[in-house]
């Protein structure tokens, strides 16, 4: 039993790391702009397919695909902000209107991707999924790359704390009015958060597509755990969101040892709900440094 739990925990941790990175990318956007950017799922999908197109269909080396994906995602994220959210904000639209425009954008991308690439599962030909032995443990190659997410997460935290633009992001997230009074350019900061957050989503899409393949609907299901992590983690920094997401991912895998696998998702979210009700102000009720 212990061995099973350890194995499951390992699987969960690797998957959870991927979700943690996705939570960080979602969190940057959410914590700064306070928009529930569901279309982040579309960014995720778009990035994945862009990489597929460049590497598998155009036959270019994967580095080029990664760069292309980062650019495509960034552009899309900024586009959604400039074309949808900003005008709606100017009209003082309530948050649920912005949320709904996000849903619309997600649907558009889903349809577009399905139209252009078809609905069957696609895989990165240049990234085969193989078994890799690490000591006594065997894992799929994609999963082994997932802990690298934490390096990226660490880099993001350093960026937020140390650099000027990172501080702008945090300032605007804390209080837009004060930030404005201090002369921080609000619109540009919002754009920066979308560009950065969207680009980061592509790294998760890479890991996800590698281990599970690409489908037009992959965005919505991936964003569920990521966004749940951010909301529960609270508004003070991206790290809590990442931690909650990795815990959720690990929990989801480990639960399989105790409940029939059909109940996996239900059990995970039931626990999440209980945690939410017990501490409705979020797991991290106090401020954590970024």
């Amino acid at each position: 039993m212990l061995a099973l739990l350890a194995n499951l925990a390992l699987v969960g941790l690797t998957l959870g790391s991927m979700y943690a990175l996705l939570a960080v990318s979602f969190g940057i956007i959410f914590n700064v702009t306070h928009v529930f950017h569901l279309a982040h799922g579309a960014t995720f999908t778009l990035g994945g397919y862009a990489m597929y197109w460049i590497s598998t269909m155009l036959g270019l080396p994967f580095v080029a695909a990664l760069v292309g994906g980062l650019i495509a995602a960034s552009v899309f994220g900024v586009l959604v902000e400039v074309v949808l959210y900003r005008p709606l904000r100017r009209l003082n639209s309530p948050p649920m209107i912005l949320f709904l425009s996000s849903v619309g954008a997600l649907t558009v991308i889903e349809g577009l991707i399905g139209l252009l690439f078809g609905t069957q599962t696609l895989t990165f030909k240049s990234l085969p999924l193989e078994a890799v032995n690490v000591g006594a443990v065997t894992l799929p190659s994609a999963n082994l790359a997932m802990p690298l997410s934490w390096i990226v997460i660490a880099a993001v935290v350093v960026y937020m704390v140390r650099t000027r633009s990172g501080k702008f992001l945090r300032a605007v997230g804390d209080s837009p009015r004060v930030a404005m009074a201090l002369g921080i350019p609000l619109d540009m900061t919002y754009i920066l958060s979308f560009a950065l957050g969207s680009a980061l989503a592509v790294l998760s899409a890479l890991l996800y597509g590698w281990s599970q393949g690409l489908t037009p609907q992959m965005g919505l299901s991936a964003i569920l755990i990521g966004s749940a992590g951010v909301i529960i983690g609270g508004r003070h920094g991206v790290l809590p969101g990442a931690i909650v997401a990795v815990v959720l991912g690990t929990l989801q895998a480990v639960l399989v040892a105790f409940v029939p696998s059909g109940w996996q998702e239900g059990a995970t979210f039931a626990l999440l709900l209980v945690a939410l009700l017990v501490r409705p102000q979020g797991i991290f009720g106090y401020s954590l440094p970024w």
Binding site: N7, Q120, P140
Partner: protein, 416 residues
């Protein structure tokens, strides 16, 4: 202000009314398959003109005879749906270019059931309420199960060409050109046992197909003397099986029985091997998707399904196999043959009804014709296939193994 919505309502009705005169070839609007489309249940209907509404006439006189087809056009099983259509289209084209049947030209009204029971209900309601066809070719257990009550209520003859769940048996108005799970799974279990496997793990989709298959496999394997060490399921939409596989791996099986369709099959075998699991994998009804997506991981996979005889001397079967190979450059499998056969069955039934002096557009007439002659030509291996008492068929089954990216027949199992 009050007028605005009245006008919109009228406009909406007007639009749909205009649409109504052209043949409605779409499924009713209800549950969405994806974010934020309450009414878009994707049903791609091909041009389907309802049969001419003159007085009941036995002979067609050049008119179109419309019948329904329900296959997955979207979702992970979409490729299989494509293949079903190939067999269907081939048969229709052949029959029509030979002058049709008794003056009738065949026309298929194709609906997308998305491999879900929900989709099947919508598609069938569309065919029953709007298109009002007397004959429907359907696939997959879930959608067909859902469609059957509608068929019975509206007197439509429903022919299942793919689903294997045993609850499809002995249902009024439903006949299956398929080897059902109670016959499909035990030989697989026996074969695995004969290979020396004693500890089986099962991983199946959480739907009637997966459920029916594992319920037929487990007792057979246990009766042989084997042991079921793990029994896991996954939702139809799953793309990641690592949790279930990790649990299975810990149970230390020597054979892994997998029930999944299309792309999911391919993904699954890849993830199995990527976790370092080297066990033999077996399962019902493997298709080309397994090899295409699974790649190397698919090698060694053992499946069971309707047998295809590439060396048949039967002229009809030989011609069918050769034509398909020539056109698509791959060998035809069972899922090309069964819709082909079902279309030819329709031709025979129309003919039978006409000869009995009845209107072939009536479901009753078709059913009577079927009961009078419950058999059809075997285009996959030659000979004749007869419907059994339980309304499925007794056919030769093949146990195949994937070798070097191709299916090779390992054993043939004759019907009892």
């Amino acid at each position: 202000m009050r007028y605005r919505w009245a006008i919109a309502a009228a406009a909406g009705l007007l639009l749909s009314a205009c649409g109504g005169t052209a043949a409605p070839s779409a499924a009713p609007t209800s549950a969405p398959a994806s974010a934020a489309k309450p009414a878009a249940s994707a049903a791609a209907g091909t041009s389907a003109k309802p049969a001419a509404s003159s007085a009941a006439q036995a002979s067609g006189g050049g008119k179109a005879y419309s019948f329904g087809v329900m296959v997955p056009l979207t979702g992970p099983a979409a490729n299989i749906g494509e293949e079903f259509r190939r067999g269907l289209d081939m048969a229709i084209e052949e029959i029509n270019s030979a002058g049709g049947v008794d003056g009738w030209t065949l026309e298929a009204n194709v609906q997308d059931h998305k491999a879900t029971a929900q989709g099947g209900t919508e598609a069938m309601n569309q065919l029953a309420n709007i298109a009002k066809v007397p004959y429907v070719i359907s696939s997959f257990s879930g959608p067909t199960l859902a469609a059957q009550p509608v068929a019975a209520q509206n007197k439509m003859l429903l022919i299942n060409i793919g689903g294997t769940d045993s609850s499809l048996l002995n249902k009024p108005w439903l006949y299956s050109d398929q080897i059902m799970a109670p016959h499909l799974m035990p030989p697989l279990a026996d074969y695995a046992y004969a290979q020396g496997k004693r500890k089986a793990a099962m991983l199946s989709s959480n739907d009637p197909y997966g459920d029916g298959s594992r319920k037929a496999f487990a007792p057979a394997f246990q009766k042989d003397g084997g042991q079921i060490v793990a029994d896991e399921t996954f939702p139809l939409t799953a793309t990641d099986f690592s949790a279930q596989l990790t649990k299975i791996k810990a149970a230390n099986p020597d054979v892994l029985m997998v029930v999944a369709v299309g792309q999911t099959q391919g993904q699954l075998v890849k993830q199995v091997r990527a976790l370092g699991m080297q066990q033999l994998m077996i399962g019902p009804l493997a298709t080309a998707d397994l090899i295409q997506l699974g790649g190397d991981a698919a090698n060694g996979f053992i499946d069971s399904g309707i047998a295809v005889d590439p060396n048949t001397t039967d002229p009809g079967a030989k011609a069918f196999l050769a034509k398909y190979k020539a056109k698509y450059n791959v060998d035809a499998e069972w899922n090309i043959g069964t819709p082909y056969e079902a279309t030819y069955l329709l031709r025979d039934l129309i003919d039978g009804a006409v000869k009995a002096g009845a209107d072939p557009r009536s479901g009753d007439a078709l059913l009577k014709a079927l009961q009078a002659k419950p058999e059809f030509h075997n285009y996959l291996a030659g000979g004749t296939v007869k419907f059994a008492a339980d309304q499925s068929v007794d056919r030769t089954m093949a146990i195949r193994q994937v070798q070097n990216g191709k299916f090779e027949v390992a054993k043939l199992v004759q019907p009892q």
